[in-house]
Symmetry: C2
Subunit: 289 residues, 2 copies
């Protein structure tokens, strides 16, 4: 493998790496927060990396974006007001705005440059950025939630990077408590929660934190994501009241007009079935201290 | 990345690659059929490659082996007689023999050296090789099926390498026709059918071939498999008569004594839910010629 033609992400502490064959680098900059690189790849379309970690490729981002957004929105009876934390590439926002129930979608992304670069290199993900229901704020999501009025959102989506550096606080109990407070009755939170193979302790901690701050129901969804560490990823949903059993898309009137590539109502239910070893770890009682 | 410390598999024609950090090479030989290498890796345990392609790692093989065997065996009312084609590492055989209904498990693997090497380096996968119900034949599986009596097996599992070289014939319509003939009424076939992301045309061809030779029901299962191309894999099941709706493990008496790590009855049903883009391709009518 000639390293000059390949982008490689080493999966830290996991003794493994993925490589994508590149044609050329299209853009590279140091924003106030991170290094942003855009590559043309041979078979994965356009690739965006932040600090050298894969964020999105044209080829496989649809799975992640659909699974972060549609299960949460279809688990809610009437998702009118949606908050996205992170999500700078705007792919999650695009999926959210496919739902006609949504009246306001607020996106709070720390790094404006990620969105500006995405607008140039991933125009398909930014196709709904000018939807009149969308609002952009380039601010710290943690502070945004602290300042948010009580019961102001129906759905909060946490479309973050890994829980190191700036995104660490987006996996913290205090942050989840603010989300819980800012959600209306029946409100649904969904966040990306890393790999069930590589990061099971993170998943376990997220479940415990969500429970501790008072969420009534917690469900993790699993799905493949080729270019993320281990090729296997998860989203965890939590509901302020309710049991996350509603799958509104099972009523054809509620979903057939939404053009998905991965998500279906069957996939929604199926993704909540977890491997036995994962279920066991999530069922463990936290140590008493 | 210092290439001397990494094993890399380039995913041919997919412009991508996975790398596993190695500690040392433990064994290397050229068998009459292929090159067999065994590595100690840093975080994936022991790794076996055939002609430079990942076959099995200690860390993640449980998903593949469980999903190839348990859904097929639990889809059958009473799987007494099981044939495994390929499966040289013996991990599938071990899972098959966990089922007390199984009276005979015949494994037909082309390359005896794969099994002999697995016995040394993957003793946990070979733990049931001396089970009196197991029989080994180191022969060509295609010829074995040609010679098999009509209606002689309840379950046939095809645990093959990729459909190039010696394994190509294991994806051919003629081979499936022989499997259909050799299965008893209600018999179930299951074979590995590659990545839903990288190899969708193969999946489509397998479905058409299985239908063409007369199988009554065909279902593909999807699951993560970190070290296989794209990190996402599939098994396709076909039933000679019946609809593959039986999941016998849903009766606790039939499964609670089987120690699985990935498989559960819920996972069995869930794995049959396929992404919308996959379902669409599989529903396409073959071209009329």
């Amino acid at each position: 493998m000639d390293s000059t033609q390949w982008f490689t992400e080493e999966w830290a502490e996991q003794g493994s790496a993925i490589s994508l064959k590149t044609v050329q680098i299209l853009h590279s900059e140091q924003s106030p927060f991170q290094r942003i690189d855009i590559w043309e790849t041979e078979t994965f379309g356009t690739l965006m990396t932040l600090d050298g970690l894969v964020m999105v490729t044209s080829r496989d981002n649809f799975i992640y974006h659909e699974m972060l957004s549609h299960p949460a929105l279809y688990a809610h009876e009437n998702p009118q007001s949606v908050l996205i934390i992170g999500g700078g590439d705007c792919g999650t926002l695009r999926e959210v705005l496919r739902h006609k129930e949504v009246q306001h979608a607020v996106q709070v992304e720390l790094d404006e440059r990620v969105t500006r670069v995405a607008e140039i290199y991933f125009p398909e993900l930014c196709a709904s950025n000018h939807d009149p229901r969308a609002r952009f704020h380039f601010l710290d999501g943690i502070q945004w939630l602290k300042d948010a009025p009580d019961e102001s959102y129906d759905v909060i989506l946490i479309d973050s990077t890994d829980p190191v550096g700036p995104a660490e606080g987006l996996f913290a109990e205090e942050f989840y408590a603010q989300c819980h407070r800012a959600l209306r009755v029946g409100g649904v939170l969904a966040g990306q929660t890393e790999s069930p193979l590589f990061h099971l302790p993170i998943l376990q901690r997220v479940h415990r934190s969500l429970k501790a701050v008072g969420f009534a129901a917690i469900k993790t969804l699993q799905f493949p994501q080729c270019t993320y560490p281990s090729g296997w990823w998860s989203v965890t949903m939590a509901q302020k009241s309710g049991d996350l059993q509603l799958i509104r898309s099972e009523n054809p009137a509620h979903w057939n007009d939404i053009e998905t590539r991965y998500y279906t109502p069957e996939i929604h239910r199926a993704a909540m079935a977890l491997p036995r070893y994962v279920t066991r770890v999530l069922a463990e009682q936290p140590p008493t201290t």
